[in-house]
């Protein structure tokens, strides 16, 4: 079945894979829905977006994405409420961010109209993959890759913008303990740390493996210049609670401007939780841990929403955090999820209905 409109080409899968999918036992990001969105940039313009059956890409071995890492991505989620309505959470933020990432990697911007119309159509076609129930969602992965052939280090003239979707259950990563980085770094001033550039992630794997060997699940990166300031984790921004006060690092050209982070900042104000957005010294966190003033550390990110951190390691020492009944992490997570699942008022206009 082929369906052509001026702005979208649609080819439906002949058979759905949904019956073969065990929605009770999903590994994050492993199973994909029946369809995907694909849009080519050639001759200086983004062509008509296509929705088509999920399937392999065919690329020349010299495609620039393989050699020069010209690739950016986003992570978003769709939620289904009790009445089977589908919602996105602040998708305009992700749209703007992928274009900011693209700009930094010399990739042409994607048109807003294409993004929203193709994404919504894709979600409607694959709506049965979005399961109801608090914690269930459809993880959405827009990404752009440089497809032009040729091994010379220059921006490509051909790209693919794609959206693939993967059903997800509540993200439970077990108890997370993190290592504060003392030597390795993920981003430099004047670099691409603020962008969701593919290369930023591979760069973290080796130091993260070292942290894992030392008994930690993740790394909290410190500034590359001095390693004295705590910045963010691999896929989460980080908040510290000292006494009743929350502290988080300001965004910069090294730190991703997280959608969850900025939502938590807004909610903190609503909840009258004192919050400081400023550089966070490793030393002040160590001192607060020693004095018992450090109550919580948590990460914020689309995949996990809010991820409480149980402990951390630094300079050969390990620190454990108290178990709180009424943690800020829990308060923020409940509120954010209620907004996402249309179970509470949407004061800030964060919900986006897919109709």
């Amino acid at each position: 079945m082929k369906n052509h409109t001026s702005t979208l080409d649609i080819v439906k899968a002949s058979k759905s894979k949904i019956e073969d999918t065990d929605f009770e036992n999903l590994t994050f990001g492993k199973v994909f829905t029946d369809h995907m969105m694909e849009c080519d940039y050639v001759d200086g313009a983004w062509q008509t977006p296509k929705i088509k059956p999920y399937g392999p890409l065919q690329l020349d071995p010299s495609a620039k994405v393989f050699h020069y890492g010209q690739a950016v991505f986003e992570g978003m989620k769709a939620f289904k409420d009790k009445d089977d309505h589908i919602w996105l959470f602040r998708p305009d933020e992700n749209f703007r961010r992928i274009n900011r990432s693209s700009e930094r990697l010399a990739i042409p911007a994607f048109p807003e109209e294409y993004f929203f119309s193709a994404l919504e159509e894709l979600l409607k076609i694959d709506k049965d993959w979005i399961k109801k129930g608090f914690g269930n969602s459809l993880y959405i992965r827009p990404f752009v890759i440089a497809t032009e052939e040729g091994v010379s280090a220059a921006p490509a003239k051909k790209y693919k913008f794609m959206i693939i979707c993967s059903p997800a259950q509540a993200y439970y990563s077990g108890e997370v303990r993190v290592q504060f980085s003392e030597k390795y770094s993920r981003a430099a001033d004047g670099g691409v740390g603020f962008a969701k550039a593919a290369g930023n992630y591979a760069a973290q794997f080796y130091p993260t493996n070292l942290a894992k060997d030392a008994g930690f699940q993740q790394v909290i990166w410190t500034d590359a210049n001095t390693h004295e300031y705590l910045e963010e984790a691999g896929t989460m921004n980080i908040f510290f609670r000292v006494g009743d006060k929350l502290i988080t690092a300001p965004t910069s050209d090294r730190i991703l401007d997280g959608v969850t982070r900025k939502s938590v900042i807004t909610l903190a104000e609503e909840f009258n939780i004192p919050l400081e957005v400023r550089r966070v010294k490793v030393k002040e966190i160590i001192d607060a841990a020693k004095s018992g003033e450090l109550k919580e550390i948590f990460g914020t990110g689309t995949a996990t929403v809010i991820n409480p951190i149980r402990g951390f390691g630094y300079a050969g020492e390990k620190y454990e955090l108290p178990k709180l009944e009424d943690s800020y992490a829990k308060v923020f997570k409940d509120k954010l999820m209620k907004i996402q699942y249309n179970e509470t008022e949407d004061k800030y206009g964060w919900r986006y209905a897919v109709k």
Copy 2:
């Protein structure tokens, strides 16, 4: 025709494309030879390398290379001498370097035996693509990409190691003027700048475009912390000649340990050219330019061998370099090429015969 040995699977192309190739008008890195090498890493081991007809790869849209930039590469050349013998230049350096790059990106090391046997076989099969004549060569691009499906930010369990080859003429880039970077940076301490990691290159495209808009062809990167020290260019290490003395930055975790750079360092000693390997202050180069002491700047790299730089820009000022009759750049380039093309003695054992 299929040919199986214990260490190499060979499938030959049914028809060569060589007749359709205009060897007098080659664009760098655009045309590829008839065959390529492909070796898969699955189940914890590199499988039997395959040589097969050059052609497209089929990858899942969720393959980790597209999302997390887990990809590294190398650049080497093969040369044909007057007697039709084929030579490589210090290939052991490239082999070791790709494994150092891989280690930093949590990619499994590739076996030395596989690398050399597959590369040599590939060169013998495609030997007609290597043209004689000073300046002609076959550019060789080994690379590794993460092929495992799944959008979770963790090292892949599946990879492809590939070698593709592209015939090249003498690299002439026109007159090159460079901009010293004042704001943007390519690498951080504790980062992946020393690795030939794909993401390092895309990160340079946007600032390089800005430099191009300002009338320069390339950027010389400065240290991310202070921007006071000159480090390297996008695909070249950089040497400065002040009076009769050469200066180049030491390698570090931010700077690629170039094969051409280390060869020039050795030759400088042979030629009794005073050389200092130490940090190079922007200010000392500006002062030397103003006083007339700055004689040359040149880049070193496999693609270009030695690339003389005609001028540079910094802080809104433009500087031109003198035109020298007996430049160091020319002396090194002649010597290196004579070694590469088997036209002079190979004192250091840099030539590697493909037999």
